[in-house]
């Protein structure tokens, strides 16, 4: 059928069952926005919701939050030039955490490409290092296949961002386009099933293990393999530690969960991991923040590594046995192999010892301010089990990693790899669009929140109610903590002062804002925020001196003494 490139794009998105596009218009994407305009009169099942942002970075984070909360591809959109470059931080964030994101950017018209035209940026050149792939359709007729391919690439194997950069005249041109539900011929195929021989060797190693332990990463969430993970852990009666990205893939109140390991993991967890004789690592790339000093990482353990990206095997740590596979299939296969030869254990002395060593709640403390740690633990008690929590980056994130138990795989959303301040609030909005049925709350710091606070306008105008709890120490807290620990308290450019007053700022946007002075007020504020029709900011004063501890010094191995 004949239609414009812009119409072809929207129709292709609709066929991929896109529910929402997060974006902001501009010159080079206007033909597509004209299609959005015309869609307003269609019934909702035929149209796509457009969520208008105030800065493109938040559009990318919203689409990313949407993807992480739902497991579906998130879509964001911008114009060329500055619109596209504003997306880059969000694209890089999604890339580091393997989140399926499609970023559609306008581009100057074909005759102007390469001429340094107004608002021209070579966005494909810019994003090549932080995308799985980037397309630039040169004809309207190419668009349906490209969109189909983009969704496939973004969401299969190891998910990641894909950019589609569409010249303005390609959006406008009429072309004969064909939509097919047939899969396009491709080399880019899903992975084969786990190699049976390798599975047998892994099963054998786990059978012989006396003190096995599982490290679960973000790959378990992506593969929707939480049930398989828990089943295997229960069969082995072995403890499960997670990376930050894996947090929640085993419910953290499960008896076998020993929490998040790594730079800010509890010392007990970090000490238990290297004492395992066999370490089964699933869906984790073993980042430096998870392993501590990699040269000192578990030298005496036999390492079994499962990852669907073969480039992650032996990239940071060479395993004894490796299996390139989707986590779900691999865990199922290993479980089946073990179940044949292993009677279900009733208990395990190893695990009893682990549990006796670890008391995750031994760290409670208090002070003149509200304690961030206590506030976060209180939040856990107040929030319904199915609540989705996002975090910003810094102390708020590490406090949450240690003290906020996540009960499900898509319920703890954080920028782990890139560490993007300003991610949590827009990601919360995206998550709420994907899951309007559950409460969504961002645990924020004052520094991070200020980076994308303009998304409050989107929250109000688009009626996306979330709650933001700002642990406000009037500092760039994590950097200040490093100043205290490693720089002789020389606080260089970390004091943020009294501005702004966040509750008043919330009011200016038409949101609810409340400052709390004690835990009772915090509790009341959270309860009322959960039922509010509009977003709420809860401003919690915490001490600028409170550290996110325990913490391994940079370069330290897991077993070394943490700073408490």
């Amino acid at each position: 059928m004949e239609m414009s490139g812009a119409n072809a794009l929207i129709e292709a998105l609709r066929r991929e069952k896109t529910q929402a596009v997060f974006g902001l218009p501009g010159g080079a994407i206007m033909p597509v926005y004209d299609v959005f305009y015309k869609m307003q009169d269609l019934p909702s099942e035929l149209s796509i919701r457009h969520v208008l942002v105030r800065h493109e970075q938040t559009a990318a984070h919203m689409a990313d939050g949407y993807a992480r909360a739902s497991g579906r591809v998130g879509v964001c959109m911008s114009t060329s030039g500055p619109g596209a470059t504003n997306l880059v931080t969000g694209i890089a964030t999604a890339f580091m955490d393997s989140s399926p994101l499609i970023a559609i950017t306008g581009q100057v018209a074909r005759p102007f490409i390469g001429k340094d035209a107004f608002q021209e940026t070579d966005i494909i050149g810019v994003v090549t290092s932080v995308t799985k792939y980037a397309f630039q359709p040169r004809k309207a007729a190419e668009i349906p296949q490209i969109v189909k391919a983009a969704f496939r690439i973004a969401s299969t194997r190891r998910p990641g961002p894909v950019v589609i950069d569409i010249p303005r005249d390609v959006q406008q041109e009429m072309g004969v386009v064909e939509f097919t539900d047939q899969p396009i011929p491709r080399r880019y195929v899903p992975l084969p099933d786990p190699d049976p021989g390798t599975v047998v060797r892994m099963v054998d190693a786990l059978m012989k293990a006396k003190t096995p332990l599982i490290i679960a990463g973000g790959g378990v969430k992506i593969a929707e393999a939480s049930q398989e993970l828990v089943a295997l852990a229960e069969l082995l009666m072995c403890p499960v530690a997670t990376s930050l990205m894996g947090k929640g893939c085993i419910p953290e109140d499960h008896p076998l969960s020993i929490g998040v390991m790594g730079m800010h993991g509890s010392s007990e967890t970090n000490h238990v991991v290297p004492s395992a004789d066999v370490l089964l690592i699933v869906g984790s790339r073993l980042s430096d923040r998870t392993t501590g000093n990699i040269d000192k990482f578990c030298p005496d353990s036999q390492i079994l590594h499962i990852d669907l990206d073969k480039a992650e095997i032996a990239k940071n740590k060479t395993p004894t046995i490796s299996l390139v596979s989707d986590a779900k299939k691999a865990l199922k296969a290993v479980h089946a192999g073990l179940a044949n030869c292993l009677a279900r254990k009733r208990g395990s002395p190893w695990f009893q010892k682990v549990k006796n060593d670890i008391d995750l709640f031994a760290l409670e403390k208090d002070g003149p301010y509200l304690s961030a740690v206590r506030a976060i633990r209180l939040l856990r008690k107040l929030l319904p089990r199915e609540t989705i929590v996002t975090t910003e980056v810094g102390q708020n994130q590490m406090w949450s990693a240690v003290h906020f138990q996540a009960y499900g795989p898509r319920q703890f959303i954080t920028s782990g790899g890139l560490g993007t301040m300003g991610f949590g609030f827009p990601a919360a909005l995206g998550a709420k669009v994907a899951r309007p049925d559950v409460p969504v709350l961002d645990i924020a710091g004052d520094g991070s929140f200020a980076m994308t606070e303009n998304a409050m306008a989107t929250s109000i105008e688009e009626r996306i109610p979330v709650t933001v709890v700002i642990l406000n120490n009037r500092m760039l807290g994590m950097v200040a903590q490093w100043h205290r620990m490693f720089y002789g308290r020389r606080y260089s450019s970390v004091k943020l002062g009294r501005s702004p007053c966040f509750p008043k700022l919330a009011e200016a946007y038409g949101a609810a804002g409340v400052g709390v002075q004690d835990y009772k007020e915090l509790s009341d504020a959270v309860k009322s925020a959960l039922t509010s029709e509009i977003m709420t900011i809860i401003d919690v004063p915490v001490s600028p001196e409170e550290n996110a501890t325990p913490m391994l010094a940079p370069g330290a191995g897991l077993e070394e003494a943490a700073i408490a």
């Binding site: 090549t128 792939y133 391919a149 496939r152 491709r186 080399r187 880019y188 073969k310 990239k315």
Partner: protein, 177 residues
């Protein structure tokens, strides 16, 4: 098999389309691999180009580079070439401005290296030499005695001597993504 810190040859088949060279070269740069030469040309299949890379490093790094390459959507196949079981060649064009009395001597050493004179004028000659890198290096070294002016080298290209299965026959015609 491969000792640390030597030249490793990697054979890469890629979709022959715009932007592929950028994607591949960007990978070396961003992951800090030490690439010493890249040779690209068409292959036996339509829409498939062959890139021959040489990298300086050990086997571990080469294996890692191959994995990263194979993760690129436009890469069909990447593998380490076993130089002992492959034909490895590089072509060089060498321009010299010899003294008149040296011309005869040049002819004889060109012959020894099985090179060819492809341009001859009153004041310069251009010699085409091909072979492995050591041979080309030696030839260029010798040329310094005869008024060496300019050198252009293609970089290494290589083909395995083994009979390859054609199991990937259809791949070259599929859409890459």
């Amino acid at each position: 098999m491969i000792s640390p810190q030597q030249e490793v040859i990697i054979d890469v088949l890629v979709d022959h389309k715009p932007g592929v060279l950028y994607t591949v070269s960007n990978l070396f740069r961003r992951r800090a691999f030490n690439i010493s030469s890249v040779a690209i040309g068409t292959s036996e299949k339509d829409r498939v180009a062959r890139m021959t890379l040489t990298m300086r490093g050990g086997e571990k790094e080469a294996v890692q580079l191959v994995k990263h390459l194979e993760n690129l959507v436009d890469v069909i196949k990447a593998e380490i070439v076993d130089a002992d079981k492959a034909v490895v060649r590089e072509l060089a064009l060498v321009k010299m401005a010899p003294r008149p009395e040296d011309r005869v001597q040049i002819l004889s050493f060109v012959d020894v290296y099985r090179a060819r004179i492809v341009h001859l004028s009153d004041d310069s000659i251009i010699v085409e030499a091909s072979g492995d890198t050591d041979k080309i290096d030696a030839f260029i070294e010798l040329s310094r005695n005869f008024g060496l002016k300019e050198v252009a080298r293609t970089g290494i290209t290589a083909l395995s001597r083994e009979q390859k299965s054609t199991e990937s026959e259809s791949q070259g015609n599929d859409v890459g993504w």
